[in-house]
Amino acid sequence: MHELALADAVMKAALRAAEDAGMDRVERLVVKVGELQQIEKDLFEFSLTSVLSSQDQRLADASFQVTEERVRFGCNACGREYGRNDISLDDSDQGEAIHFIPELSHAFARCPDCGSPDFEILAGRGITLERIEGTGDG
């Protein structure tokens, strides 16, 4: 499951953020999961826990808060904003492709008003490290 790779990336980003903030102990990571990538909140929490043991000691006691964000698309052609329920995918392979590379929504999704594939993903794309909380002399 490639969620483990993304969880590992979150840990590396958190360590960099801790170094920048002068933290010597990270207590909590707040991570946002976008609806478009179809990564389940519970599964991603499990993924974060699974990769924790291989990380820097400063992250060893960290807990996780994973929040979800609805996807919002904005059509560049007609200006319509729309969400996941406004688009239809033909089959599970399209959903699987978007799970791996959310930008492939441009290959399969269309604006419900004008039919354009030219849209921005305004929110809810994928994984974001929102913030870290910890202690240290920073």
Binding site: L4, K12, F100, A107
Partner: protein, 243 residues
């Protein structure tokens, strides 16, 4: 910590830790044979028992799988995703995910797709990872220059004045940015090659080789046994020995 962080750039260094060289096969104009050069060079390197990867970065028009005759299917997924291995080449392409669909991407979406694939693709240990670059010096070229500090470029050109002008501009920019260049490769040679040699000399880059115009090439695309019999392959096999 201030703003929220995109975690993907932080994973790239480790993903490429086992890759000895990363070479972007680039040309400033479309249609000068970058994909054929990148794919056939990868084949020649694999045939010489090098561990080689090929990453098709022309997301809107991926074609390396066509050149090499590789079926499209989802990559295997474990701690990331594994490139397909075909003819000894570790190949990653958006085509494995998109099927027959067109992939219309603006610049920011191209950058994001690149980040995603760099963050999750498991290249393993490679002697060379070739990047088949899209035409020009747009988003993808600037992204890989920013994201991949060990990147080298191999510039592909031909003797058309239109192409030479563009390759000269690209060479000047890479020099200005201190991006190492393997050299300039002349493709589809029909004349004496003097214009490309003069260009290479003018921008102080090695002139690597001349790939002759090969009328048999089109029929060989998609069939590596035929591809290995082309003048293009033979020329690139000689070049591959120097890598």
């Amino acid at each position: 910590m201030g703003d929220a962080l995109d975690p993907r750039p932080f994973a790239i260094e480790q993903r490429l830790a086992g890759v000895r060289r990363v070479i972007g096969v680039s040309g400033s104009k479309g249609g000068i044979g970058k994909s054929v050069i990148a794919s056939t060079l990868a084949l020649a390197l694999a045939d010489q028992d090098r561990r080689v990867g090929l990453f098709d970065l022309d997301f809107t028009s991926p074609s390396d799988h066509v050149v090499l005759g590789v079926d499209r299917s989802f990559p295997a997924e474990e701690f990331g995703i594994d490139p397909h291995v075909a003819h000894g080449i570790h190949l990653m392409s958006v085509a494995f995910f998109a099927g027959d669909a067109a992939v219309p991407l603006r610049g920011a979406a191209t950058t994001s797709a690149l980040l995603e694939l760099l963050a999750i693709t498991r290249w393993g240990d490679l002697d060379v990872l070739l990047l088949d670059m899209p035409p020009g010096l747009g988003d993808t070229s600037l992204d890989v220059i920013n994201l991949l500090p060990r990147l080298e470029f191999l510039l592909v050109g031909n003797e058309s004045r239109v192409v030479i002008e563009s390759v000269r501009r690209a060479a000047a920019l890479l020099t200005e940015l201190n991006v190492p260049t393997v050299g300039i490769l002349e493709n589809m040679r029909r004349g004496d090659g003097e214009a490309i040699r003069a260009l290479a000399e003018g921008v102080a880059m090695p002139y690597l080789a001349a790939i002759p115009f090969d009328s048999a090439l089109e029929a060989a695309l998609g069939d590596v046994e035929l591809l290995r019999k082309t003048d293009v392959y033979r020329s690139l096999a000689r070049l591959a020995e120097s890598f």
